[in-house]
């Protein structure tokens, strides 16, 4: 989201990118939640994650499983 962009325009653009057609009357409810997303982005960005890789999800077929 840019500093000057209208939050409803941001929501419209992002949901369209995800292939969703959110009706105009719903945009304000979603836009009201954007600060929470922004707060989350800032909180996670402040962490010192060093060289840590993301927690793994992908396992190739046949890979030995362990705890």
């Amino acid at each position: 989201m840019t500093e000057t962009e209208d939050p409803e325009a941001t929501v419209r653009r992002l949901t369209q990118l995800a292939g969703l057609a959110v009706p105009e009357e719903r945009l304000s409810s979603l836009a009201a939640l954007l600060p929470l997303v922004q707060q989350g982005t800032e909180t996670l960005a402040r962490l010192d994650l060093g060289e840590r890789e993301p927690a793994p999800l992908f396992r190739v077929p046949g890979q030995e499983r362990s705890g």
């Binding site: 941001t10 292939g19 969703l20 057609a21 939640l33 996670l44 927690a55 999800l57 499983r65």
Partner: protein, 463 residues
């Protein structure tokens, strides 16, 4: 046996009677079905009751046991399933309009395991739509009502599972937990709910909310019952690559009532902030009880707690949207308003945020692992508040309810909620015990010792 005697039985007690042929599975199942008929108009815990199938399964169990083919403690025991576990030939709605007519052609792995253990499935339990919420106020099937006060929520998303067990409609149930959905309703309904270690139990055949955070676990009246059910459903599954090949102990054999030498950690931060005074008093009282029983207590800090709800959201919301994207495009009006809003919100999370959240997960696993070298268990309230009234601000209630549970979905550690008191108005309070990865045995052992000392599990709602 009389109806009230049957109603008072725990799973373990019923199993001992069935094994000794002092109780018939058919008699027990009939009692549960009668109870369902009597209390469902008040509770709405079930979406589908499978009475005919249950009676047939009970009849088969009775015949097998009479022929000397007793399979173990779940044989002939009436069990309910949250309605997002696939059941062959029985509709599985996920609490949604979208899947209202979905009839799977195979069982989820855990359902298959329960059936192999001889359990009698009495029906499919109501939940928050698609498990995406903590109240179980379901717009399509009606709200699940709390057996302790039917004007209040049962919690969620496994609200029907908790209400049904608390009200004696079945002796155990399965739930799922992505941000607290086993522990929250267990806390609010006064039962025992265990979220095992991530990977302990297969998720195959379970409608997902978030693949990276979903856990399957037991919801029961007692800790011993939870140990028995966990033992039946746990273990590696070739159909679920996240289900790890780790030894499954006989959890019930570790329930010796002894906590001497156990090191308990009580959090300095976060878990006692903005907590209802009665909840805090009950939980601190429970810590004192465990200390009297021989555990040692120290204060601890878990690093980066403030980041965990953000990391959970950054993983859960985009994953949930990914699963629902096609339906949300084609049938947006078929979702309840709150679930639709959360799914749409998932589109606003940038990919980099998702990756940073998964890196945060690596960070907290590493750093909390160091904390858990100094302690065996962390003790917290399961929820900061007791059950809210149905219709109270949904978002505010949900955000409050998930605060103390969702950190351990991110870390993947085992965590149990068990009853530790009642408020002055008679609402249950839940104690949460969190253990090291794969150490459900210690979680259950301490929970069992506390339960034995306090007997809260014997206090039942009067529905």
């Amino acid at each position: 046996m009389k109806a009230d005697e049957l109603q008072a039985l725990t799973l373990a007690e019923a199993a001992r009677l069935i094994a000794g042929r002092e109780l018939s599975p058919r008699e027990l199942t009939e009692e549960c079905l009668e109870r369902i008929e009597a209390v469902e108009p008040k509770l709405n815990a079930f979406i589908t009751v499978t009475a005919d199938e249950a009676l047939e399964a009970a009849r088969r169990a009775e015949g097998a046991i009479a022929a000397g083919e007793y399979r173990g403690p779940l044989h002939g025991i009436p069990v309910g399933l949250k309605d997002l576990f696939a059941t062959r030939g029985v509709r599985t709605t996920a609490g949604s309009k979208i899947m209202a007519d979905h009839v799977p052609d195979e069982d989820a792995t855990v359902v298959r395991r329960l059936k192999e253990a001889g359990a009698v499935i009495v029906g499919k339990l109501n939940l928050h739509e698609f498990a995406f919420g903590a109240t179980s106020v379901n717009p399509h099937y009606g709200p699940v009502r709390n057996p302790w006060d039917t004007g209040r929520i049962a919690g969620g998303s496994s609200g029907g599972s908790a209400a049904a067990v608390a009200a004696g409609e079945c002796l155990a149930a399965l739930g799922t937990d992505t941000g607290g959905s086993i522990r929250i309703p267990s806390s609010l309904c006064g039962i025992v709910g265990l979220k095992p270690t991530y990977g302990r139990v297969s998720r195959y055949g379970v409608v997902p909310l978030s693949w990276a955070l979903d856990h399957v676990g037991p919801m029961c009246r007692t800790v011993e019952d939870a140990a028995l059910v966990l033992g039946a459903i746990a273990g590696a599954d070739p159909l679920d690559p996240s289900a790890a090949d780790v030894v499954v102990p006989r959890f019930e054999s570790r329930l010796d009532g002894d906590v001497k030498g156990l090191r308990l950690g009580v959090p300095r931060e976060y878990f006692f902030d903005n907590v209802d005074a009665e909840v805090e008093a009950a939980v601190r009282g429970a810590v004192a009880v465990l200390e009297e029983l021989g555990a040692s207590v120290r204060e601890v800090s878990l690093p980066h707690l403030e980041a965990t709800p953000h990391a959970v959201n950054a993983i859960m919301l985009p994953e949930a949207l990914a699963y629902h994207q096609a339906w949300l495009k084609e049938r947006p009006g078929d979702y309840g308003e709150d679930v639709r809003l959360r799914l749409e919100l998932g589109a606003t999370y940038p990919a980099v945020h998702y990756v940073q959240a998964q890196r945060t997960r690596s960070l907290i696993v590493e750093e909390w692992g160091r904390v858990f070298e100094e302690i065996d268990l962390l003790v917290t309230p399961a929820t900061p508040i007791p059950a809210a009234a149905i219709g109270e601000a949904e978002l505010t209630t949900t955000l409050a309810l998930i605060r103390f549970t969702n950190p351990f979905n991110l870390s993947g550690q085992p965590a149990v909620s068990l009853p530790c008191g009642l408020t002055k108005t008679g609402l249950p309070i839940g104690l949460q015990l969190v253990g090291r990865w794969w150490d459900e045995a210690t979680v259950l052992r301490a929970a069992h010792a506390y339960e034995r000392a306090n007997q809260w599990h014997k206090v039942r709602p009067k529905v």
